[in-house]
Each structure stands twice: as structure tokens, then as C-alpha cells.
């Protein structure tokens, strides 16, 4: 059995999507879906399934468990830019040493940890197009330029 980290954040299945909103007044997108546009205050919001593909805008690796997090470390963390004109904070697949600015990325749904009922808790992450469906080795993170 599986459960999701929060209802309504994303769709699951073969072709998962993040679920955001599109503002009927200013036309801009946001994520997660809100009742009010976070850029112009309009309440003319329609649900929008966001593009599965985007480009890498920034990345690092989290090496110690943040507050409230029960999964493994290290894990990738960064920002992916979507064609809707949106930058999204996201987990990234790890390792991150071959990441580059503007690298094509795509969405996948992954298990965070197992909850008290034995269910896998699912969340979203982005992974380089090249990595998908491959088993990748774990290793040290390296997001900056030394």
C-alpha cells in the first residue's frame, strides 16, 4: 500500500504531474494549488497539471535530516524551472555531482519512508532525463563551484 505526503500535490501513475493553479487574471502559474493567486491576489484560479519536464536552476545535497524528516540522507534538493514560467522547490535524485545548470529534468514519484501502517509515503522529485529508470550509485554531493 502507498499513501501521499499531502493530498492534491501531484497525480500518480505512469505520467505523473504536479498539481498547481493558473490565475485567470494574471495568467501566471503557482504550485501547490491555492485558492488565491500568490502574485496578484485574484481568486480566479483553475487547477493546472504542470509540465513533467523542466530544467535545473539550482541544486545542493541535504546531508543531515531536516526537522520532521524520517527518510534517508543525503538527498538531492534544488529548484527546477518549468515551461509554465515557474520555479519549483523540489527534492532531486541523488547523487548530484553531474548536475549542470539548465540540465533537462523530469518528474517522478518516489517513496520517502514507511509510515506507522507499513505504507510507503510518496512524494515528488525531479531527476535528470538521462538518469530515469537507471539504478544510480550513491555518493557525495557537490553542488557548488570550488
Amino acid at each position: 500500500m502507498t499513501t501521499v505526503v499531502r493530498d492534491g500535490l501531484f497525480t500518480v501513475g505512469d505520467s505523473p504531474h504536479l498539481v498547481g493553479g493558473r490565475c485567470g487574471d494574471c495568467g501566471r502559474h503557482h504550485f501547490p494549488l491555492l485558492g488565491t493567486c500568490p502574485y496578484c491576489s485574484s481568486d480566479q484560479i483553475t487547477r493546472a497539471e504542470l509540465s513533467r519536464r523542466g530544467t535545473l536552476w539550482g541544486w545542493t545535497a541535504v546531508t543531515a535530516p531536516p526537522p520532521g524528516y524520517l527518510g534517508d540522507v543525503p538527498f538531492g534538493f534544488g529548484v527546477v524551472e518549468l515551461p509554465e514560467g515557474l520555479r519549483v522547490i523540489t527534492r532531486l535524485s541523488h547523487p548530484v555531482e553531474h548536475f549542470t545548470f539548465g540540465m533537462p529534468m523530469h518528474l517522478r514519484i518516489v517513496a520517502l519512508h514507511t509510515d506507522e501502517n507499513g505504507d510507503d509515503v510518496l512524494t515528488y522529485e525531479f531527476t535528470p532525463e538521462a538518469y530515469d529508470r537507471k539504478i544510480v550509485p550513491t555518493g557525495e554531493a557537490g553542488g557548488g563551484r570550488a
Binding site: P32, Y39, T63, P66, P67, V88, I89, V121, T123
Partner: protein, 375 residues
């Protein structure tokens, strides 16, 4: 416009003080500030206290334990800018003619380790997205990309601030470090190493403001601003933002308002205390405060301009990297330092002839506060 003066300053050192309550630290800072201003009970008509994690009635408990209550006491929260917000409100109330003299203080006793706060929603915590240092790291990575900053520039900020901190008896860390030491410290979130990050800690600071009669140190501006919508790596840490780099950050908004209020420009400044939550945050502040052009933070640090011996020393107190960051107190700690500088009382860390100074904090909310003082 009514002139507002800083007539008293006081500090409880920043650090870890296991046996001391947050109230007791506040009492030490307030007692010093009142003595410095030459006033006692009845000498001020209102009190504003910056506090973030100190719990309900934090400011009241300080004055209650000194037998000094009766006037309005307001606790103010604006994240890292809390003390600056309190200062802004106090100055406004004096200008409105509500009070002649106001006590402004900030107190904090941060929990050790990563701060668990209600800032993030539960699902974000569960997904590992409440990783505060990771946001700092991404901001640093983008600055490195856009301003030619390297890890060596980051290390040099730490070296500078720690060296300044050696001369500050109120700082938590008072040992010189080398760039090699900094780069040898553990990676927290690439590109940030442990020693490039400040420590949340404990302390208190206090300032007495008075309707001015001329002379002394003037509070020329205190401007608070929140973030504009849309910036994904702004201190508000939303889950998404717009794909644009044209959103003015809150520090720039507050700086512009402060320069306008004081009628000065960044090129006239003699000394600056700025938010160095991490080493990259200090460099970003150079650009956002207009101390250099956008993209020139690396160049500015290479010229040595912000060293004690440079044309515009930044963080002569040692900054948060040396002092640690007691949220409610840190902004007022900067104002205490700069008042000492303008009085010529800063001892071995004195910036000679300093007459115009700027302090800057920014953090959760998001909020940024910029204060300008002069003599």
C-alpha cells in the same frame, strides 16, 4: 521632522548561557542601556521588545522582574529583523508625539541545533523540504554563478569576520581562522561549509531612543520591508516562484527607503553591520544594499574594501559569524555596535572617524530592516 537620538545602549553578550534565563539576559541589556542613558524607572514612556522564540510576554517579563512596568510594552516579531522593526515603531511613536523616550530591546534564547518552527507546513517537513541550510546553499550557488563568487571568496568573508570578532568581548567565537580551516570544515550543504554558517544562540541588546535636542547619535532612518511576491529563493521560502530574476529583494526595498529617509547614499557610509547568516548572505547584501554594483560582490571583497583597513569596513563586530544569531536581539546588537563606533568607543575595532553607519538584517517572514545612524 522630529529628530530621534540614541541616548543609551546595552548588551548581554551573545553565546550559550545554560544557567541564565532569557529574562535575565534581557535585564542585563536593559540595565546597561538605561544606565548609559542616565535614566531609571519613569524615564521612558513605552517599551518595544523584539523576540521570536522567547515565548509569550517575553518583553514584559524583563521589565516585570525589574519593577519597571506600567507603560505600554509591546513584543514585536519580524524574524531576523525583529529588533529593527521594534526600532522603527519606537521612532515612529516618538515622531508622532506619543512619547519622548522609548526603551527598545531584543531578547532570544534559541534552541540548540536546527530550529523546529511552525514556519513550514507538516508535509514540507515530512518531504525533507524544511531544510533551511539548503535554501541558503541554493542562494549561494546562484550568487556564485551570477557574481563570479568562489568558495575562496566565501571563506575570505569568514576569515574577515572572525578576525574582527577576536576584538569583540561580546562575541561567541573569538579565534582567528584561516581560509584553509574554513574550507576544511564539514560540508553542510554544498557549497556551504559549517564555518560559513552562523550559529543560532542566546543574548540580548537594548537601545534607548529619545526625542532629540541635537548632538549625540541620531537615528536617521529605520525601514522595514517584506518580500515582493514571486521570488522562489527569497527569505520567505515559498514552494514555487516565477521564472524571473527581476524581483527586487526585501533588503533592497528597505535600503532604498532608508537612504531616502536619511537623505544619504551608500557611497557616504563609513561603516556597515550586515546580515551574515552565511558567508554568501554577506556578499549578496553588498549588492542588495548598493555597496557595489549588481554582480560585483566578488570584486568588492577582492579589493579589501570591507576589511577593517578598507574604505568601508563591514561587520567590525565580527558579524553573526562571530557573535552568533539570537534572532530577537541581533538587529539591535548591530545598532549597539554602530553607536559605539560613532561615539569612538569601539576600542581595538574602532573604525576611525566613523560618522555615518548602516545596519541590516533580513530573514524569515520575509522581512528586511535597514537602519542608518549618524553623528
Amino acid at each position: 521632522m522630529t529628530r530621534v537620538e540614541i541616548t543609551g545602549i546595552g548588551l548581554h553578550p551573545f553565546g550559550r548561557f545554560d544557567g541564565t534565563s532569557v529574562t535575565e539576559m534581557g535585564v542585563v541589556a536593559v540595565r546597561h542601556a538605561l544606565a548609559d542613558a542616565g535614566i531609571g524607572r519613569g524615564g521612558f514612556q513605552a517599551a518595544f521588545c523584539g523576540a521570536v522564540y522567547a515565548g509569550v510576554a517575553a518583553g514584559h517579563k524583563v521589565l516585570d522582574s525589574m519593577g519597571m512596568t506600567g507603560m505600554p510594552i509591546v513584543d514585536v516579531e519580524a524574524g531576523c529583523a525583529s529588533g529593527g522593526a521594534a526600532l522603527m515603531l519606537a521612532a515612529g511613536a516618538i515622531r508622532a508625539g506619543q512619547y519622548d523616550t522609548v526603551l527598545v530591546y531584543g531578547v532570544e534564547k534559541m534552541p540548540k541545533g536546527i530550529i523546529r518552527s511552525s514556519f513550514f507546513e507538516p508535509w514540507r517537513e515530512q518531504a525533507g523540504l524544511a531544510a533551511t541550510p539548503a535554501y541558503f546553499a541554493l542562494r549561494a550557488q546562484r550568487l556564485m554563478r551570477e557574481s563570479g563568487v568562489t568558495k575562496h571568496h566565501l571563506a575570505s568573508v569568514v576569515v574577515k569576520n572572525r578576525r574582527n570578532g577576536v576584538n569583540n568581548p561580546d562575541a561567541m567565537f573569538r579565534k582567528d581562522v584561516t581560509a584553509a580551516d574554513v574550507l576544511a570544515s564539514r560540508v553542510v550543504c554544498e557549497p556551504l561549509h559549517l564555518w560559513m554558517l552562523c550559529s543560532p544562540n542566546e543574548g540580548a541588546a537594548a537601545v534607548v531612543l529619545r526625542k532629540g535636542s541635537g548632538g549625540g547619535v541620531e537615528l536617521a532612518a529605520a525601514a522595514l520591508r517584506s518580500h515582493l511576491p514571486g521570488s522562489v529563493l527569497g527569505e520567505a521560502t515559498p514552494m514555487s516562484g516565477l521564472a524571473t530574476d527581476d524581483i527586487t529583494p526585501p533588503t533592497s526595498l528597505a535600503a532604498r527607503a532608508a537612504y531616502e529617509e536619511a537623505g544619504v547614499g551608500p557611497d557616504e557610509l563609513d561603516v556597515v553591520e550586515c546580515q551574515d547568516t552565511d558567508a554568501a548572505r554577506e556578499l549578496l547584501s553588498y549588492e542588495e544594499l548598493g555597496l557595489c554594483n549588481p554582480g560585483d560582490a566578488a570584486k568588492l571583497v577582492e579589493t579589501g574594501a570591507t576589511e577593517m583597513t578598507g574604505r568601508l569596513p563591514v561587520n567590525p563586530s565580527g558579524g553573526l559569524l562571530s557573535k552568533g544569531e539570537p534572532l530577537g536581539a541581533s538587529a539591535l546588537g548591530q545598532v549597539v555596535e554602530l553607536t559605539r563606533q560613532l561615539r569612538g568607543d569601539a576600542g581595538p575595532r574602532q573604525v576611525e572617524g566613523a560618522r555615518l553607519a548602516l545596519s541590516h538584517t533580513v530573514g524569515r517572514g520575509a522581512n528586511a530592516c535597514v537602519t542608518i545612524i549618524r553623528r
